[in-house]
């Protein structure tokens, strides 16, 4: 088994079928959940307009980060072929995890990605490592989702305001932690992080004070654009 033919296997019809089945499952779940959420939303008093606004704005918001994921997929594509790269990043996906798992997998077969020629068996072991390495997340999340809900309800009782306070604390912490990494770095990432925040601040203010609905849907998009541009032109 030489290194030239592993790409034929990696890009073969059957690998597309296997990868496609997993991606299809993710889409089916999204569809089932979205349909039920829409109908329940109407029952509990949300309007069509609110929900259409939510759908439209999240489609706009998803665009920018998806392009970043796409560029990460290209990096995987070169060493692992189309189907697996496509599936991993539509499925569990974080580019850093997949790259690390792939290199651990080939390493266990004595192949270093990027310097040694890849063998078919090293490729197969990379697939195994990426698959098994990600199972932990799915299994734990699936086993614990409904139980964590019970814990949270017990904790906050029927105080819906307290639930909101808990949620905002968690959101601020999650994005504060990510922002803090870039703020402390003191490089162009810092510029982008601060500029993104400032654009958001200004646009939010304009959208709310003048009640401009389309601006609310687009303001994250503009914040990302502004942050990137500020970082690019910043003299550093």
């Amino acid at each position: 088994m030489d290194s030239s033919n592993y790409m034929d296997i990696a890009n073969s019809f059957w690998m597309w079928v296997a990868a496609g089945s997993a991606v299809t499952m993710v889409l089916i779940q999204a569809f089932i959940f979205a349909r039920k959420s829409y109908s329940t939303g109407l029952e509990i008093g949300l309007t069509h307009e609110q929900m259409r606004g939510a759908i439209k704005s999240s489609a706009i918001t998803a665009f920018g980060p998806s392009i970043v994921v796409l560029s990460a997929m290209i990096a995987l594509l070169v060493s692992l072929g189309g189907p697996i790269s496509w599936m991993r990043l539509s499925f569990i996906g974080s580019a850093m995890f997949e790259m690390m798992a792939a290199s651990f997998g080939t390493q266990a077969m004595g192949v270093t990605i990027g310097s040694d020629p890849m063998t078919s068996m090293a490729y197969a072991n990379a697939v195994w490592t990426m698959t098994l390495g990600a199972l932990g997340w799915i299994v734990f999340a699936t086993l614990s989702a409904d139980k964590m809900d019970k814990v949270q309800k017990k904790f906050s009782g029927s105080d819906t305001k307290l639930m909101g306070v808990v949620a905002s604390g968690a959101i601020l912490a999650a994005f504060g932690a990510n922002s803090a990494t870039h703020l402390v770095a003191l490089n162009k990432n810092t510029v982008s992080c601060i500029a993104g925040g400032l654009v958001m601040l200004v646009l939010n203010h304009i959208a709310d004070s003048k009640n401009i609905k389309w601006l609310r849907e687009w303001n994250l998009f503009f914040a990302l654009l502004g942050g990137m541009m500020a970082a690019v032109v910043w003299p550093m």
Partner: protein, 228 residues
């Protein structure tokens, strides 16, 4: 029964059981299907790595990310709820894509995180982000690496600054609504990042610590009447 009780009833006794039933079913199916590429390699192409190599690779990756399997679902749960947890951990890209979409959707629909309405809207937003992400990746993989590598270098360079801007923007969006809480959380997060750099705080725990300390501070401030 008042209208509010009725709303809670529908959410608790119809919506949630439906989500839990289908969430478990689809996630366990996804677990099985995720093994299919490895199965195709073994059964159709006769490529079955030695058992020791599979275990070796698994131990390496488990020691690198094993703690995160537990830390992430727990840390993100207060933000994305039951439906979000089922979806996010089979579709990935949580912090950079799923949660931002859920948050923007809530803001545009004018609903609060942590409420039933918020959970419904967040689920819609995440579902849409899964579709958009899949469409873009599918178009990308069909276009192929050769086409994509011809993207102008300036665009590729600019893209690496997208995530910092995203994190700053989402943080700001929520900071506006929680002016008393946000600065405290940000200082805490910066201290933790410095702590990780100094080797005082283990890196894999820093998100969990910041999430739960911030929740604790938020709840304390709420109980003392500093937060509404």
């Amino acid at each position: 029964m008042s209208k509010q009780e009725n709303v809670n009833d529908t959410f608790e006794h119809v919506y949630l059981p439906y989500i839990i039933k289908w969430g478990k079913l689809t996630n366990w199916t996804a677990v099985v299907l995720s093994l299919s590429p490895a199965m195709v390699l073994a059964l159709i192409f006769d490529l079955m790595p030695p058992f020791s190599a599979i275990i070796n690779g698994f131990v390496l990756i488990a020691s690198a990310v094993g703690v995160v399997w537990f830390v992430e679902p727990i840390s993100y749960f207060p933000i994305i709820g039951v439906a979000g947890t089922y979806m996010a951990f089979i579709s990935g890209n949580i912090g950079n894509l799923r949660i931002p979409c859920a948050m923007v959707a809530q803001k545009v629909a004018g609903v609060e995180p942590g409420t039933n309405e918020g959970a419904i809207i967040a689920t819609l937003g995440m579902a849409v982000s899964i579709v958009v992400n899949t469409v873009i990746l599918t178009a990308g993989v069909i276009a192929g690496a050769s086409v994509l590598q011809q993207l102008p270098k300036s665009i590729v360079d600019a893209l690496q600054f997208l995530l910092p801007a995203l994190f700053g923007a989402i943080f700001t969006q929520f900071a506006i609504q929680r002016l008393k809480l946000a600065p405290i959380v940000l200082v805490l997060c910066i201290l933790l990042v410095v702590g990780v750099k100094q080797g005082i705080v283990p890196g894999f725990l820093s998100t969990l610590i910041s999430v739960f300390l911030s929740i604790a501070i938020a709840v304390l401030m709420y109980k003392k009447g500093f937060l509404k």
